[in-house]
Symmetry: C2
Subunit: 303 residues, 2 copies
């Protein structure tokens, strides 16, 4: 079991000739979740050789165009690829109004849209083995960060299975399903599994100033994907004014949250060479990687 994480784009505000707007795809067991969907995301997805159809959930951070303008085209391409099952979209308050407005040019989709505003409609969303938890960022307008956690069941415990008189024939099934009905008796997976083990946690957060709330939510994440709008520390006044973060602030936040790894994304169009600031941010948080379009990694359960 693992999570595949792919940065489809790493641009902020405006796409560049060779940099897509920020968007991130997370894949697990044949399903996918997309974070943000700015203009061109559908092309970036194609370039990454991924598919539209397995994407069940779109998490939108906020309604600045660079994070949602690609939505109508993206949904149309999903339908073009044969998607029929409902698609869930999570976002801040106002999601329904914005999505319905944008979908004026995507009428008659062959699948339903389940639009969930945080915090009014949901606090968290459990979907199969993953749990998505939005939290508040700080960007001047309503803006969300997201935690995505992949659940990991406990180890199979033969003594426990025997104690609960679980027939050997369904031991395998109960490691995959929550419950199994066998010869008229219902058995729970908890009857054969030990304590839940550490799963995987990804935190995605852009656009925002660094805050204590983000640190609390990103705590011990396996991967923090966080905005790095400006590399140069002298841009702090501009970062404060526009509700963004410096590379160095991203590094400090990663350190305070004790995450395993930090990926930077969402660069200002003026920041054409983010690698120039790599060493500076690594001096604050060594396990930082400068994100780029197409960067990907597979995260595995630790043993």
């Amino acid at each position: 079991m693992m999570l595949d994480v792919i940065l489809l784009g790493t641009g902020g505000t405006m796409p560049l000739k060779n940099r897509w707007l920020s968007s991130c795809l997370v894949k697990y067991m044949g399903h996918s979740v997309l974070f943000d969907c700015g203009e061109g995301t559908q092309i970036a997805l194609k370039q990454s050789e991924n598919k539209f159809k397995p994407i069940d959930i779109l998490c939108i951070t906020h309604f600045h165009a660079d994070h949602i303008s690609g939505l109508p085209g993206f949904l149309l391409s999903m339908s073009n690829e044969g998607r029929c099952e409902p698609v869930t979209i999570i976002g801040p308050v106002g999601l329904k109004r914005v999505v319905q407005s944008l979908c004026v040019i995507a009428p008659g989709l062959p699948f339903g849209l389940r639009l969930l505003e945080y915090p009014s409609d949901i606090q968290e969303l459990v979907f199969g083995d993953i749990k998505i938890t939005p939290f508040q960022a700080e960007h001047g307008i309503p803006c969300l960060g997201y935690n995505l956690k992949l659940h990991r069941a406990g180890k199979f415990d033969i003594e426990k299975a025997k104690k609960h008189h679980v027939p050997m024939k369904i031991w395998g099934q109960l490691q995959k399903q929550k419950k199994v009905l066998y010869e008229g008796v219902e058995y729970q997976s908890s009857m054969v599994l030990g304590a839940q083990r550490k799963g995987l946690k990804i935190t995605y957060c852009t656009d925002t100033r660094p805050t204590e709330n983000i640190i609390a939510h990103a705590k011990n994440a396996d991967l923090l994907i966080y905005e790095g709008m400006f590399g140069d520390n002298e841009k702090l006044p501009r970062a404060i004014e526009t509700g963004h973060s410096l590379f160095s602030e991203a590094g400090e936040l990663a350190k305070a949250a004790g995450v395993k790894k930090l990926w930077l994304t969402h660069y200002s169009p003026s920041l054409t060479e983010p690698m120039e600031y790599e060493n500076a941010v690594k001096s604050i948080f060594p396990n930082t990687e400068i994100g780029y379009d197409g960067k990907q990694e597979s995260l595995f359960f630790s043993e």
Copy 2:
């Protein structure tokens, strides 16, 4: 005096990895007109090394997403480049509703939008030396083709100037301006110029079935830019069903309209190699060129 024509993209329905959605830029004397603005048009414009700011008029053919989904991002990039002057957008009935809906993610633009629906708000638009005339196409939903004509004044006529007692000092000015006030007397350019000469005419038409109305409007165009959704003649039923044209129909239409040159654009995503059908369409209309992203040409006045 000339027109520069650039195909920013040549894709229909969905962008491909290496093919932008159909959009065309026409430049003349420091101004520009954009035809259609699907997702990614702002990036295609950047790749073509053109600027946002000189674009005064956007002509939208219809409201399928592949022709307008790039609008919010495009307007935001115009504002980012410092545009302050109003921008005119022409489109079919419904334009105001659609643009206002899409602009939910582009609030507070620093320039006004003048939204003109054809035929209710305008029949034609004269802007400096150009005249834009929309006309009805046939696509199942309201859809417009456009003529863009560059006006060409008559030759300077020295005898006429003398006859009207126009002072020699303003002969030059009157070849550029309609009227000049000199020593308390107003002089008209018609006092120094001969009969108007043949200008330049471009016809842009997608998405549509071929019709007599289009032939009439495209009559004698210097350049007809027309959709070629399908190369294969066996796709005629599909073309009819979806309101599109075959390459061969485009050739027949160009021939019937007596245009000087035909450029094909707006290829189906399934048509990855439009060049394969080049000879077939040239056998109908020899001066056909298979459009591609970035194709450009300068059209000059004939002598």
